[in-house]
């Protein structure tokens, strides 16, 4: 099995990589052989044969035996780790590790039958940027690795259902030399590499993933071995991810946490579990009359203080979006777009301001040790009649009877696993974590919607999930009282939501935040229109029918010159990556699966020029992505900078 080559290969390059590097006297750089290696059968346990079991002395054909140095924090896809020679060198290392006879015939990569390696890549249908990116990748992999890449479009939902997720089966496999069991398989990590989705696939750029710059501990969901919640590609880390994340969890200060993450992010940059490409900014076009939007990750947190022209209540704040909402039931919604639609009429516990600091909305959170957290609920919160005052009891009931109940699959159920909650006053409750986490609020886990206890009680007593999902008061946010800036007046399933101003909004009476909150929101009404066609959304922005809409990068320049539109570049934590299917139904080009081999993924990363992609497709409106963190994050490793 090719996978075993990986496992056997590399005990030395794990959590303690830095330790043995220093033992070898190598400061900050790992020397790797051009195209040799231990063939996968090497012990890998002796530090002497190099981090990847490659001794650096055996040259190879194709790359002229070039020595290739990978630093602690390798940055593939930019000079000097870009180009045909680097990619060939790394690919040949993968061939050595593979049980099967892959090779280069001139510049062409061929499989054991002598045919050119041909694999496919999926991109999102109807999205020009996605299509251009896929074409660029195909071109680069063709030129620098001699792979024939077939570009195919697919609808995101279909890809998710048939390719990306699978029936959770669990199972046992050898990962990194150890027997590992998938104890809690999920549709996005259904089991070992042998457990596959219905449909076979090779590569995809359909989905980007969150890199959680506010609390990178959450990233254990992707890389924490068999316990990872989210591992559709079937990645087996070659470093002890679980232990590194556990260590990071123990950090008692941000500085300690930053230090703990250096190893994690360097390992991820090295192993390329997903081929990291870039972080593109969100480009949002706004009505130029609008005061409030900022070029910041937290853009929009203070919407109640936004206004048009003068800070007086007038007009309507209208936006357009491409995706319709499946449900507005706050208990079950998992979609971003619907989350925005709910947020217009119902606040959650807290938000993040422009400095990425927690800004308390419904409740404030405090802790001394990171283990016991106290929630102080504001006293001026009211549900609609007949539910009355919002108290700590509503939140505690919600957590204990729904989020922690095994019969109710609420969206937040995984967030409250293992947390002990206790009401300590009419407006106060405490949550005790299994292990301390000083950044708990930044995980979004303790983020709650307020739901009246009396509304939930009948469903809880009957354990009636269906009734809860279909409850009209929940679906149409009829209980929201003074808890949102606007009141939801209509939800047309196909075309969006409409709102009117909430004259009783509680935020006006709080002490924190901008002074403008005291009279907000400054719009008589609001709406979110679902318009699937991009040309129509942009048309609405140009004519002023919409106050805000996303702008595709290829049209950035024309909108920047348009006086009817202000374009803001808003950084996001979502990345653009190539997901390579390391499961048994990935790699359709021949026997084995080269995607499972670290050097092959490195070769792919080295074959694609990040700068050319950013300039050519994203018009320079993106930054290169080397590890699982954007550059603006305080947890981005600063080594080699």
């Amino acid at each position: 099995m090719p996978r075993r080559n990986i496992e056997d290969r590399d005990d030395s390059r794990h959590i303690d990589r830095r330790e043995w590097l220093s033992a070898l006297g190598l400061a900050g750089a790992v020397t790797l052989a051009g195209c040799s290696g231990n063939g996968g059968g090497g012990s890998g346990s002796g530090g002497g044969n190099g981090s990847d079991g490659m001794n650096g002395s055996e040259g190879g054909s194709g790359s002229g035996g070039n020595q290739l140095e990978l630093p602690d924090f390798p940055k593939f896809g930019v000079d000097p780790l870009y180009g045909r020679d680097v990619a060939h060198t790394l690919a040949e290392r993968a061939f050595e590790q593979s049980e099967y006879d892959y090779s280069f015939d001139g510049d062409t990569m061929v499989n054991p039958d002598g045919d050119q390696v041909e694999i496919n890549i999926y991109h999102s249908t109807g999205q020009e940027t996605s299509q251009l990116t896929a074409n660029f990748i195909a071109q680069e992999l063709g030129q620098n690795l001699g792979i024939n890449v077939i570009v195919e479009a697919i609808d995101g939902t279909r890809f998710n259902n048939e390719y990306w997720t699978a029936e959770p089966q669990g199972g046992t496999d050898t990962v990194d030399g150890e027997e590992v069991t998938w104890e809690n398989p999920t549709p996005t990590n259904p089991g070992p590499q042998s457990v596959t989705s219905n449909q076979a696939w090779d590569m995809s750029i359909v989905f980007g993933l969150n890199t959680y710059p506010l609390n990178p501990l959450t990233n254990s969901a992707f890389f924490d071995g068999a316990t990872a919640f989210y591992n559709p590609v079937g990645y087996y880390p070659q470093f002890d991810a679980q232990e590194l994340f556990d260590q990071a969890q123990q950090a008692s200060s941000v500085e300690e946490l930053q230090q703990a993450f250096v190893d994690i992010f360097e390992n991820i940059a090295y192993e390329q579990p997903y081929i990291t490409l870039l972080f593109s900014d969100d480009l949002v076009g706004y009505n130029p009359e609008l005061e409030g939007p900022i070029e910041n990750f937290s853009n929009g947190w203070d919407l109640p203080a936004w206004y048009e022209g003068e800070p007086e209540v007038s007009g309507s704040y209208d936006t357009v979006t491409s995706a319709r909402f499946t449900t507005l039931n706050p208990l079950f919604n998992t979609e971003n777009g619907a989350g925005t639609a709910i947020a217009r009429a119902l606040d959650q516990g807290y938000t993040f301001d422009e400095n990425q600091d927690v800004f308390p909305l419904l409740y404030d959170m405090s802790t001394e040790d990171g283990e016991v957290w106290t929630f102080d609920v504001r006293e001026n919160l009211q549900f609609s009649e007949p539910y009355g005052q919002v108290t700590a009891e509503d939140f505690v009931y919600l957590i204990q009877e729904l989020h922690q109940a095994d019969w109710a699959p609420t969206a937040a159920s995984t967030s409250w696993d293992g947390v002990t909650v206790e009401q300590t006053g009419e407006f106060q409750f405490e949550a005790t974590l299994e292990s301390p986490n000083i950044l708990w609020p930044k995980t979004y886990d303790p983020l709650l919607y307020p739901i009246p206890k009396d509304l939930l009680q009948p469903y809880v007593e009957e354990e009636d999930v269906q009734g809860l999902e279909q409850d009209e008061e929940l679906l149409e946010l009829q209980f929201a009282g003074n808890l949102g800036a606007f009141e939801l007046t209509a939800w047309n399933r196909g075309s969006g939501t409409e709102y009117t101003r909430n004259d009783e909004y509680y935020l006006r009476d709080i002490d924190e935040g901008p002074d403008l909150f005291s009279e907000g929101p400054y719009f008589e009404s609001a709406s979110i229109s679902v318009v699937r066609e991009q040309a129509s959304r942009l048309g609405a922005l140009r004519t002023g029918e919409a106050d805000a809409a996303a702008i595709p990068p290829e049209q950035y320049e024309s909108y920047q010159e348009n006086e009817n539109v202000d374009v803001l570049q808003v950084p996001t934590p979502y990345n653009t990556i190539i997901s390579v299917n390391q499961r048994a139904n990935g790699w359709s080009a021949g026997p084995g699966n080269l995607f499972q081999l670290v050097p092959f993924r490195q070769a792919m990363a080295a074959a694609i020029s990040k700068q050319d992609l950013i300039q050519g497709v994203y018009r320079g409106l993106a930054s290169p992505h080397f590890t699982w963190q954007p550059r603006w994050s305080q947890f981005y490793p600063s080594t080699d900078e």
Binding site: P185, T327, N329, N492, R493, S495, V531, G539, T543, E545
Partner: protein, 324 residues
């Protein structure tokens, strides 16, 4: 066979056809894995429970552990009493989702159908009456242009010109506007125009060729010789026989109205109609809604065929009721 018996036989046959379709649908559904059961098993696994037990509980809760014939009878009752279940992709009952979407589809498809049915044959007969003149060429050119240009592309171009540049019509469709209002007429102008130009071509060409056949028929010569006005001659003597073969096309047209052709136009103009509803239901694997929309189209098709059979006999009394 008399007309009454003929109609009764056709209606009975339509009922049998619908029953067969519903039965086949039931068998396919019962053979397929149930998404609710799958979800429950996944949820149980996520929270450390027993997936098999959770799946069993949902099966019991939903009556899936009952014998096949009991489930079949339940299914039949639900289908014919319009209890089509809950749509998870729209969070409302399926019948309500279909009715809501139909409300918006009807607003553009009814004017579209009426205009196509009226204008298509009229332009066709007009072309035939002026065959090979510039009027014929102009009418044919117009019909071919509409037929050839993809609806969604034409829609985007018109939206750009009249919505974005000239700002005569709104870019975003507003569903809350009253049906019979100037605002609604304005916002539906472009979708109806695009659809009419797209569908008129086929009707126009068929009626042009059909009517060309009758222009010099003996009964037209007689009519002309008797001094019948050209308008009356074309309306009574040419149009009527022309419509007999055309009625097949027209019924097909009526049915297609509600789905395929309108999806892209609904996407471009943001109309929350049946096309988009069906498409989203398919994409999001909303089984109940897919079933609901499929049944809806099935019933429309069955009824459409019934109407077609009846229209034949009304339009052309020479068509026999026997052997049908």
């Amino acid at each position: 066979m008399g007309f009454g018996r003929y109609v009764s036989a056709r209606v009975l046959w339509a009922a049998v056809v619908s029953l067969i379709i519903v039965t086949v649908t039931f068998l396919l559904l019962s053979a397929a894995p149930n998404p609710a059961v799958r979800r429950a098993a996944t949820q149980a696994a996520l929270q450390g429970g027993d997936p098999a037990e959770a799946a069993e509980r949902v099966r019991e809760l939903r009556g899936l552990d009952e014998p096949l014939y009991v489930r079949y009878m339940d299914f039949l009752r639900n289908v014919y009493t319009l209890d089509w279940g809950w749509s998870v992709s729209t969070s409302m009952p399926v019948t309500e989702a279909v009715t809501n979407a139909l409300y918006y589809t009807a607003q553009y498809s009814i004017p579209w159908t009426i205009l196509t049915i009226i204008l298509g044959p009229l332009v066709g007969v007009y072309s035939a009456a002026n065959m090979y003149s510039w009027k014929d060429h102009a009418a044919t050119g117009f019909a071919f242009f509409g037929y050839a240009i993809p609806n969604f592309f034409f829609g985007i171009i018109l939206l750009l010109i009249f919505g974005v540049w000239l700002e005569w019509i709104p870019v975003i469709y507003k569903p809350e506007v009253p049906v019979f209002s100037v605002q609604n007429a304005i916002q539906l102008t472009l979708p109806v125009f695009v659809l009419v130009t797209g569908s008129i071509g086929a009707v126009m060409r068929v009626s042009r060729n059909e009517s060309a056949e009758f222009q010099n028929a003996d009964f037209m010569k007689t009519a002309k010789a008797k001094g019948v006005s050209p308008l009356r001659a074309y309306a009574y003597h040419v149009m009527r026989p022309t419509l007999v073969p055309l009625s097949t096309t027209l019924v097909g047209q009526l049915l297609a109205l509600f789905l395929g052709a309108s999806l892209l136009v609904e996407v471009v103009f943001g109309i929350p109609g049946l096309g988009r509803l069906t498409y989203n239901a398919l994409i999001q694997q909303d089984t109940n809604l897919v079933l609901g929309t499929t049944l809806f189209f099935t019933f429309v098709a069955v009824i459409g065929n019934l109407i077609e059979d009846l229209v034949f006999t009304v339009l052309d009394p020479r068509i026999s009721y026997d052997d049908r």
